[in-house]
């Protein structure tokens, strides 16, 4: 069983190697099959392992492949481990990953870089699996860097477009900032506990007062900075909307379902640490809340179908961090799972629309697609209802759980978050109505518009079913049904529960009446959001203008709160200036002069000594005799 665990990431790695080394020679169909098969096999092994795991009494499965780094008092193994949390992520990563691989088969079929695409996609899957399967922080870090690399490669997949390359670079650089935080966190933990193994960290944490330990507090902050970068939180979120430059399946897999949730995974993984440092949790709460609000507000006035979804992802990730901030780790993971379903569905649906309309992404040029793309319309509706939080779709349960815990933890945050949920419903249905209702506003002949082929339709339908039913793994307490996910995750969250029982004043119990209240309010707010969208974009048939907005509020949200411009002024411009100064002062004046000086000196010395190497044997002999005489004389005079 242990060996099977290390097999899961091996399949995509092999797929990557085959497709990556031979993508010019392998025919498209075969390359696609290899890619799909690699992810499918991983998924099957993961399922089989999960069944074994559940039958075997949920014993931690761990396998150490080799001893990797050994220090004076510590060692780090190259090892994998799987507990309940890992299995949740594993199912999402391999399951959704598999579906998206199938979707890509249809979506990317026209692309010349088909094999390359599958190679990268498999490499991503491999990295992501290493990330969630890693038994210690360093293993997770390998995966963390790997997914960052794949994100970079896939955002810039169409690398003939300069703007896409810029977007890829931006994502990479932004992520580096977060990665530095993660790395520093690992160092702090290693320095403090002499181990990076998760199980050992949890044990070590149970015997220290993390709150009074600056190393641990800073480790917590550093890990969160890492999560901020990867999970696109304020202030490092601007890369995610730009990341939409990549092919749509990439946006679905990497920038919605899996990679961007790895920050949440990390925080849940370190829940023993975070639960004992409440002020960092508070910090996470407000960062998450601000991100959720800003993401939602910007989402209301974007006109690119993928940009709307990107900001929606940013906003939903903010929701998850709010949950982490109030210590509701289960709720966060629950939302990760349901979000993976419905956001992947939304992106794939958007992909289907874009594919059907021959690469049109502007929602102002869509409309009336309900009849033309009936299947896409259906699944999009399901996903929309899920993200808007309409019962009984999956998003309702997970969002409601987050809202309920926020209500118990922080009332102001709850109010703001509920409003954000309403805005979410509004902008998602704005998108929905603009794309699928009223008349078609584009200029394609209607016969040319086609719905998804089978390879694309199948994943859409499966994800739609999951988006409907996914919520039942975590029913609210008031229904007197088991919260499957919560029960399952209990062992992972043991340290948090222990702390909660030690400090009952920090533990927020939710009464049933409160829960009904929260649920009712969130449903009403969602319906209001949908209603506003309905009245604006369906009844009044409003369509966003092509001209730049004059209304300052819309200007602000359409301009994405001018984060890019602000960063440009306060970070990019000064850095460029400094770089320019150094390029003249250090590079040209110091290094160049020194290097060129060496060259000039050597040439001068060479040309002046050239005549001594004239090739005349007697000349050499003469020099030799003279030199020997000289040394002989020196020797004689020295002895005297």
């Amino acid at each position: 069983m242990e060996q099977l665990l290390s097999l899961i990431p091996v399949f995509p790695l092999v797929g990557f190697l085959i497709n990556g080394l031979g993508f010019r020679k392998i025919p498209k169909g075969v390359a696609g099959l290899i890619g799909v098969a690699a992810s499918g096999l991983s998924f099957l092994v993961a399922i089989w392992l999960l069944i074994q795991y559940l039958q075997g009494g949920q014993q931690l499965i761990s396998v150490s492949l080799w001893e990797w780094i050994t220090g004076p008092s510590w060692k780090i193994d190259f090892s994998f481990a799987a507990d309940q949390l890992t299995f949740c992520m594993l199912m999402v990563v391999t399951g959704v990953g598999f579906l998206i691989h199938i979707f890509s088969f249809g979506y990317m079929h026209e692309d010349e870089g088909f094999g390359k695409f599958f190679a990268f996609l498999n490499l991503f899957l491999f990295s992501m699996l290493v990330l969630v399967l890693g038994a210690n922080l360093l293993m997770t870090f390998i995966g963390w860097e790997g997914v960052g690399l794949c994100s970079f490669l896939l955002i810039g997949f169409w690398n003939k477009n300069e703007a896409y390359n810029e977007a890829a670079k931006k994502a990479f650089v932004m992520n580096r900032i977060g990665d530095l935080g993660f790395l520093l966190g690992i160092f702090l933990i290693l320095f403090r506990f002499s181990t990076v193994q998760y199980t050992e960290i949890v044990t070590a944490l149970s015997s220290v007062q993390a709150l009074n330990d600056p190393y641990l507090v800073w480790a917590g902050i550093c890990f969160f900075i890492g999560a901020m970068g990867k999970s696109a939180q304020l202030p490092l979120f601007t890369w995610l909307p730009d990341a939409m430059a990549g092919p749509t399946p990439v946006s679905a897999l990497i920038h919605a379902a899996t990679m961007v949730t790895s920050g949440i995974y990390l925080v849940i993984r370190m829940n023993a640490l975070y639960s004992s440092i409440p002020m960092v949790q508070e910090f996470i709460l407000w960062i998450g809340l601000a991100t959720a609000i800003i993401g939602a507000l910007v989402g209301t006035s974007q006109n690119d179908i993928k940009k709307v979804l990107a900001y929606s992802t940013v906003s939903q990730l903010g929701f998850m961090f709010v949950a982490l901030g109030v210590g509701a780790y289960t709720a966060a993971l629950f939302h990760v799972i349901t979000h993976a379903f419905f956001k992947a569905l939304l992106f794939l649906g958007a992909g289907s629309v874009i594919h059907g309309l021959h690469e049109e992404q502007d929602i102002r040029k869509m409309g009336g697609l309900k009849k033309l793309l009936p299947l896409t319309y259906g699944v999009f509706l399901v996903a929309n209802l899920a993200i808007a939080g309409v019962p009984p779709f999956s998003g309702f349960f997970s969002k409601d759980e987050i809202l309920a815990h926020t209500f118990a933890g922080n009332k102001i945050a709850w109010v703001l978050l509920t409003i954000t949920a309403g805005i979410t419903a509004f902008y998602m249905f704005r998108l929905f109505f603009l794309v699928f209702f009223n008349e078609y506003r584009g200029n394609l002949a209607k016969e040319k518009i086609h719905d998804a082929p089978f390879s694309m339709a199948m994943p859409l339908v499966v994800l739609a079913i999951l988006s409907i039913a996914g919520g039942f793994i975590g029913l609210p307490e008031v229904f007197h049904m088991p919260h499957i996910l919560h029960e399952f995750l209990k062992p992972v969250l043991m340290p948090t529960e222990k702390l909660a029982s030690l400090h009952p004043e920090l533990h927020h119990a939710i009464s049933h009446s409160d829960e009904w209240l929260v649920m009712g309010v969130s449903v009403v707010v969602s319906l209001i959001g949908i209603g506003v969208a309905y009245s604006m974009y369906l009844s009044k048939k409003m369509v966003p203008d092509f001209e730049p907005a004059t209304n300052p509020l819309i200007k602000l949200t359409n301009g994405k709160f001018f984060f890019d411009e602000i960063y440009n002024v306060i970070i990019v411009k000064p850095l460029t200036l400094i770089a320019n100064i150094f390029s003249v002062l250090v590079d040209l004046l110091m290094i160049n002069l020194f290097v060129e000086g060496l060259g000039i000196f050597t040439r001068f010395a060479g040309s002046s000594l050239k005549s001594t190497q004239a090739g005349r044997v007697s000349g050499y002999a003469f020099l030799m005799v003279c030199s020997i005489l000289l040394f002989a004389l020196l020797f004689i005079f020295k002895t005297i």
């Binding site: 190497q613 090739g615 005349r616 044997v617 007697s618 002999a621 003469f622 005799v625």
Partner: protein, 109 residues
């Protein structure tokens, strides 16, 4: 202290040394001034033998056989060296139809 051999009363040791120096200098001059490879080669041999003479002289002057042992070695090696050296000269001659060393300037920078 060993006894100085009888011969050095008849011919003082200085004469031997001077002869050796003269032979050596002739050798050097030959090497430096001549352009024919064979003559240069002969000059080198002359230098070698000047040194040998010195060795033998001091060996018998000091009654110490070590110097003579050296001379045997030098002679043996010189024989080998002559074989190689002459072979090289023959090859050079075959190639450029001359033994003039001033023509060997292919490595000139």
């Amino acid at each position: 202290m060993n006894q100085i051999p009888e011969i050095f009363r008849v011919i003082p040791v200085n004469n031997f040394v001077i002869l050796a120096v003269v032979l050596f200098s002739i050798g050097i001059l030959g090497v430096l001034t001549r352009r024919n490879a064979i003559i240069i080669f002969m000059s080198v041999e002359l230098m070698l033998n000047a040194v040998n003479l010195l060795f033998v002289t001091f060996s018998s002057y000091k009654s110490d056989p070590a110097g003579q042992v050296f001379v045997f070695f030098i002679m043996a090696i010189a024989a080998a060296e002559v074989a190689v050296g002459l072979a090289i000269i023959v090859m050079i001659y075959r190639r450029i139809r001359s033994t003039d060393v001033s023509l060997l300037n292919n490595l000139k920078g």
